[in-house]
């Protein structure tokens, strides 16, 4: 074993060259560490600072913008814990609270799709667990390069099998998400995993190490070399321009060991073990181990608590005995948690761990020294003020609207040729339905267990997932995630508001009232002023949008460096909205009803000629230009209130939001979901009516006999609407344009993904 780099040794060897650049730290950052410590850092301290100050952990480039979420937050009495915690906590009534969060695992999923995606699920589940909640469902928002690209054939099946492997084994229903394809994601797939958990109000746990003398226990899996440096290397280096030196160099294959390996069975045991520990009141504070492993858990627990901690790194159970302090601190081995426990309760704590076959070790204790000190066989190897690592640097990076943005906006899709006759419109609809982004996603979603736990009321392909929380009262929660990189490329401010609007509308389309927002902000390099402008605009758009809609942002995640060489992905904020459903028995499905009397179909909202960034322009013409549809947040709010009120009053038998592909695609989806056709007459220009993507719209099937009551309710909410036809039959019939049998629709919709992926 090589000599350990101790604190005493570091003080005596000032000026020793250290590999800070290879670990992703700048010269200025390194000097700041030296200033803080009054000496050079030890190798363990350097490892700790490098992962804690990585973009992934420190949010150093995004912090100055993210402050808007709190500053502009609308008044809400639903928030029990907000930004800054592992995940926000929302009061849903009847003594229940819900916590939810979405997080990226983009880079690991490109390097090793199966394990990268699997551990993305595992990580977000532990975030939710650490709040004191029982995880009850997951969702995944996935974006890949062109569906037919050979590399998509490697990445997509691996990502899906990883999510399936981990989530199914963990016993969590997967209730929705997204799947889209665009060339901009070819070298940077987006794998964003969401988890939601439920608890009683009093169950909230805190991530702080308080009370000197309290014991620090590491439990769960052993610590190995997997994921060492994952946070700094994978999340901060740009693919294709890897910085030289050591383990970091060599491109994709050299990075493979940086991806963690998942063990969902151990995670399942960890979930049940933690919930029993919480119920027994055996925990003072708890933190999950994710990015930056023990380094992050110890610094954050300490910085959030009494302020000091003594950790014996040699007490950490290892699966590879050759690991030294830097590797132990940086390891991202999965399925681990860290708890702070009163000395008198350690025995009971360990007994619960033993019951669940969870390994646990006391590795340290809380102190009042104000220092985070770690020893290795008795010798101090870390001695730092914890907040210096936890807070990290803050950068106000230059942001500049790129000049090319004007040309992009001027490239109006109005100039694209349109097929206006019935046959042409029919062909366009079928082309949209068979395009990979809009095709039937069963090839993917059939690999996920949507039933487990027995409380899933709605899952994909519904607009939102819906989970029953209380069997007696029918209380439930709805969730939807949405994002549209094409809209955001055209205008990141408006595009982000459109994503927020769509997720909000999707939640309301189940009959649930939107309550809170989470986000996963996927962007290119923050060091590129054009990307930073996109990011700043997106955050501003989301904060402003949430203020108008009256839903607070409760937490989120930023993923930068999603680019290949100098080419960034489309800016892709993925927005998750949580809603509360007063009675899940009154949920609304997308599917047209199979009822005896003809159910009227009402188109809600206003339709304009809006094709910028549309699915029609993308699929039929490979075109991206112009302006995205104009969001109308006031109209969204009224539409959502109408849908919720109509569901509660039992006036509707289906509801479906209009988004990608407009009315045409929405009608086809409602027909296919319900197995029931429809006959509609189009208002105005048929092409615009069918394919425009104006926001703030939905189609509903009104329960026969409730037409007048629904009309009054619609007027009272100030929502525009028009009866366009009726549900029934076995074809999608557009008066004067075309008729498509459901069998043909289903075949065209269903064939694409199996043909691509087997």
């Amino acid at each position: 074993m090589t000599a350990t780099d101790t604190v005493a040794g570091a003080a005596a060897t000032a000026g020793l060259p250290q590999p800070f650049a290879e670990l992703g730290l700048t010269q200025a950052e390194y000097e700041k560490i030296v200033d803080t410590l009054g000496r050079r850092p030890t190798s363990a301290e350097l490892a700790l600072y490098s992962v804690m100050w990585s973009e992934h952990c420190s949010y150093k480039s995004s912090k100055v913008h993210l402050r808007q979420f709190a500053a502009k937050a609308p008044p809400s009495d639903a928030l029990l814990a907000g930004i800054g915690h592992n995940a926000g906590v929302v009061d849903i009534g009847q003594g229940y609270a819900v916590t939810f969060k979405i997080e990226s695992h983009n880079h690991p999923s490109y390097v090793e799709p199966h394990q990268g995606a699997a551990t993305g699920v595992g990580g977000i589940v532990r975030d939710i667990l650490a709040m004191g909640a029982r995880p009850v469902a997951v969702m995944d928002a996935l974006r890949f390069g062109p569906a037919s690209a050979p590399d998509t054939g490697r990445v997509l099946p691996g990502v899906v099998s990883g999510i399936s492997f981990y989530g199914n084994c963990l016993g969590l229903p997967n209730i929705g998400g997204e799947l889209d394809f665009d060339p901009s994601y070819a070298g940077n797939p987006l794998v964003n995993a969401l988890c939601v958990g439920v608890m009683r109000h009093g169950d909230l746990q805190v991530a702080s190490a308080s009370g000197p003398g309290n014991q620090v226990i590491l439990f769960g899996s052993t610590t190995g070399p997997d994921g060492v440096g994952g946070a700094s290397v994978l999340a901060s280096a740009t693919f294709g321009e890897v910085k030289g030196g050591g383990e970091v160099g060599g491109g994709e294959s050299a990075k493979r060991p940086s991806v963690q390996v998942g063990d969902p069975f151990t995670e399942k045991l960890l979930v049940e073990c933690c919930l029993e520990l919480f119920a027994g009141g055996l925990v003072v504070g708890i933190q999950d181990l994710g990015a930056a492993g023990i380094a992050c858990a110890t610094t954050e627990l300490t910085a959030g608590g009494t302020g000091g901690m003594l950790v014996r790194l040699d007490a950490v159970p290892l699966r590879d005995a050759s690991l030294g302090p830097p590797e132990i601190l940086m390891s991202e081995s999965q399925e681990r948690m860290m708890a702070v426990v009163e000395p008198a309760r350690v025995e009971a704590f360990l007994a619960v761990c033993a019951k669940w076959d969870v390994r646990a070790a006391v590795i340290g204790e809380v102190t009042d020294t104000g220092r985070l000190v770690m020893t290795w066989h008795g010798e101090p190897v870390v001695d730092i003020p914890p907040s210096s690592a936890a807070d990290g640097p803050v950068y106000a990076r230059p942001a500049e609207r790129p000049a090319a943005q004007d040309a992009l906006a001027a490239d109006d899709p109005a100039a694209l040729p349109r097929l206006a006759d019935g046959d042409g419109l029919r062909a366009d609809l079928l082309a949209l339905l068979s395009s990979p982004g809009l095709a039937d996603k069963s090839w993917v979603t059939d690999q996920y267990d949507r039933y487990v736990r027995g409380d899933t009321v709605l899952a994909m392909p519904e607009d939102g997932g819906l989970i029953r929380v209380d069997e007696t009262t029918g209380l439930g929660i709805a969730l939807a995630t949405d994002g549209n990189g094409r809209y955001c490329r055209l205008d990141p401010y408006l595009g982000t508001q459109l994503a927020l609007s769509e997720a909000y509308r999707n939640v309301a389309a189940t009959g649930a009232s939107p309550l809170a927002v989470t986000n996963c902000l996927n962007f290119g390099s923050p060091e590129d002023p054009a990307v930073m402008w996109q990011f700043a605009e997106a955050v501003r758009g989301l904060a402003d949008g949430c203020a108008v809609l009256g839903v607070p942002v409760t937490g989120g995640n930023v993923s930068f460096y999603n680019q290949t060489g100098t080419v960034a992905i489309h800016p892709t904020p993925v927005i998750g909205v949580l809603g509360v459903h007063d009675d899940v028995r009154r949920r609304l499905s997308v599917g047209f009803p199979d009822v005896s009397g003809p159910a009227s179909i009402v188109l809600l909202g206003r339709t304009g000629e809006e094709f910028g960034g549309s699915a029609w322009a993308h699929v039929l013409h490979g075109h991206l230009g112009g302006r995205p549809p104009a969001p109308d947040l006031d109209a969204e709010r009224r539409l959502a209130a109408l849908l919720v009120a109509a569901a509660e009053a039992g006036l509707l038998s289906s509801a479906h939001d209009l988004s990608d592909g407009g009315l045409a695609v929405a009608l086809a989806e409602s027909c296919l979901r319900g197995g029931v056709g429809c006959a509609v007459r189009l208002p105005g220009d048929p092409f615009t009516a069918l394919f425009s993507e104006s926001a703030g719209r939905a189609i509903v099937a009104v329960r026969p006999g409730a037409e007048a009551a629904f009309g009054q309710l619609r007027d009272a909410h100030g929502v525009a609407g028009e009866t366009i036809g009726t549900a029934g039959g076995d074809s999608l019939v557009v008066d004067g344009c075309f008729a498509i049998p459901l069998t043909e629709l289903a075949a065209v919709h269903g064939q694409t993904l199996p043909a691509l992926f087997g």
């Binding site: 069975f265 059939d446 996920y448 409380d455 087997g758």
Partner: protein, 194 residues
């Protein structure tokens, strides 16, 4: 609920081995769980007539424990499948299917990665001849199971295993139907659970 680590059936009248991923299914499904301490009590009790229902992973464990014939292998497409399926109840004389009528069709979700039922030709012929095929996929065969077999029983009919999940078809709010209730109603009606 019985605990896997206890060698004790606590005098229960019937046992359901539920689905899930025992020991992560990292080895062959059910291959480790069959050695759980509770199985040392369950196996002789089942041979003595205790009604036992194995669902999905529970079915795999019963096969691994040789309480049921055959084995479950990876789905033909080598992917996990969640799908609502039409099933036909072939044998209504077992402890778990008496509430159904012969040939009745029910809709119940299937959700498994290793659900392809396999047995040698002689065993398959014996199962058919003796009516031990309890449940069959009625429309398409989703996973490549031999003869479309979704569930089988032992010769006495007290031990039944099936891959689909009847517990997910007990309420149309949270499942595709309430058709799965019959499995549980059967054992209750038989008077073994009061």
């Amino acid at each position: 609920m019985l605990w896997h680590g206890d060698r004790d059936l606590r005098g229960v009248d019937a046992v359901i081995l539920p689905g899930g991923f025992s020991y992560g299914d990292y080895l062959r499904c059910g291959a480790i769980a069959r050695f759980a301490p509770v199985m040392s009590e369950l196996v002789p009790a089942a041979r003595a007539g205790l009604p036992v229902l194995g669902i999905c992973n529970g079915f795999q464990i019963l096969c691994e424990a040789h309480l049921l014939p055959g084995a479950l292998t990876r789905n033909a497409a080598l992917r996990f499948i969640t799908r609502d399926l039409r099933l036909r109840v072939e044998n209504t004389r077992t402890a778990w299917t008496r509430a159904y009528s012969g040939g009745e069709q029910i809709v119940v979700p299937l959700k498994s990665g290793e659900g392809a039922y396999a047995a040698d030709p002689g065993t398959l012929a014996d199962l058919e001849a003796s009516g031990q095929v309890v449940i069959r996929y009625a429309s398409d065969n989703p996973n490549g199971s031999a003869d479309g077999i979704a569930g089988v029983c032992n010769a006495e009919g007290n031990v039944v295993g099936l891959m689909p999940h009847p517990e997910h078809a007990v309420d149309s709010l949270t499942g595709p139907s309430a058709d799965g209730l019959g499995f549980f109603a059967s054992v209750v009606a038989a008077g073994v659970m009061t």
